[in-house]
């Protein structure tokens, strides 16, 4: 069980690092030859991926996976609240201009 916990942690690390590297690809494909271009899709994807990493860190690194249900629900709720808040701030900002 102990080695599997170790392995699981390593897999989690590989996944979050991989997601970080995906950003490099998103970044490259988003721009028009080093000139940054505004993009709703990139923004939403960046926030979405960040929150996926956010949740992996919570579940795996911070061991919420083994925690009582209340803490699992609380942290998942936190992820949802952050997602809703960030996306609404962004879209409200766009709509108001």
């Amino acid at each position: 069980m102990e080695t599997s916990a170790k392995k699981r942690l390593l897999v989690a690390w590989v996944v979050v690092v991989a997601i970080t590297v995906i950003y490099l690809w998103i970044d490259r494909s988003a721009d028009d030859r080093r000139v940054l271009v505004g993009s709703v899709a990139v923004t939403v994807a960046a926030i979405g991926l960040a929150l996926v990493k956010f949740r992996i860190i919570l579940r795996e690194f911070m061991d919420v996976r083994h925690a009582p249900r209340a803490l699992c629900v609380l942290t998942d709720l936190l992820v949802v609240v952050i997602a809703v808040a960030l996306l609404s701030a962004y879209f409200v900002g766009r709509a108001v201009t």
């Binding site: 009582p68 209340a70 803490l71 609380l74």
Partner: protein, 260 residues
């Protein structure tokens, strides 16, 4: 127990006197700053000298009467400081924590709120004063008031460390962490010395609105927790007992859920 009875006969009457004074002081403070003088939310930092003359004219009597009330009752800010100092003294940590907190806040009252009262009173008392000087008084008032948050930063950290090291259970530990959150928002006000507009200016969304929201929550929470400390206190030096059943104060919902 009624206020009168708790102030006359309760063995903890001096604690209750200080606690009620704290509540009264914070209420007065809010009324003066938000209603009478309308200096909170703060004026816009980008006003021109001529516009600041108009700003002073707009709230002439409000500034003079409101800050006169602070001149009368401002010293009662010491009650919350004394009560918090007592709470730290009641913990199992060195008195150095309590005394640091006491001295820090006691002296900080001068730049923290006396300066804005003086600057705004001087500004309002001579409406015909040179606009550039009115501008200076306006800046002096708001910057001294908002810009002296290092006191709250270090003060919150001292209180936090005391709570986290304490073994007498004076405060729940989550409140120790809330002190850290409060300390970290105090850092955010420093840019108001730099920006004349934008989210980090002295009236900005981050430097004012978010900070005041956090500070407001923090203040309400600590006043409530000080009350529950007085209720539980056995005036000894050991662990503070829990309240007898029936009168039990509500635990923080989060802590309760997590414990269960």
């Amino acid at each position: 127990m009624s206020i009168g009875a708790s102030l006359r006969t309760d063995p903890k009457r001096e604690l209750w006197f200080v606690w009620y004074s704290t509540v009264a002081f914070y209420s007065l403070y809010s009324v003066v700053f938000f209603v009478l003088t309308r200096t909170q939310p703060p004026g816009r930092p980008w006003l021109t000298p001529e516009q600041t003359v108009g700003w002073f004219a707009d709230r002439h009597w409000g500034l003079l009467v409101g800050f006169a009330l602070i001149f009368v009752l401002g010293g009662f800010s010491a009650t919350s400081i004394a009560l918090i100092t007592y709470s730290i003294r009641r913990m199992s940590v060195s008195r150095a924590y309590a005394y640091s907190y006491l001295i820090l806040y006691a002296i900080a009252a001068i730049p923290g709120f006396l300066f804005i009262c003086v600057a705004m009173t001087v500004g309002a008392m001579r409406p015909e004063r040179d606009p550039t000087l009115m501008h200076w008084l306006y800046d002096f008032g708001f910057l001294s008031f908002s810009g002296t948050m290092g006191v709250f930063l270090v003060g919150s950290l001292i209180w936090m460390a005391a709570i986290l090291l304490d073994k007498n259970g004076v405060f729940p530990r989550w409140f120790g962490y809330l002190n850290l959150c409060n300390a970290l928002t105090e850092v955010v006000i420093a840019p108001s010395w730099i920006f004349q507009r934008g989210v980090l200016a002295w009236n900005g969304v981050i430097a004012w609105w978010i900070d005041v929201a956090v500070f407001g929550m923090y203040t309400v929470v600590f006043i409530y927790l000080l009350r529950s400390l007085i209720q539980r206190d056995d005036l000894g030096t050991g662990p503070v007992p829990a309240l007898p059943p029936g009168a039990a104060p509500r635990a923080h919902p989060l802590a309760k859920v997590l414990a269960g």
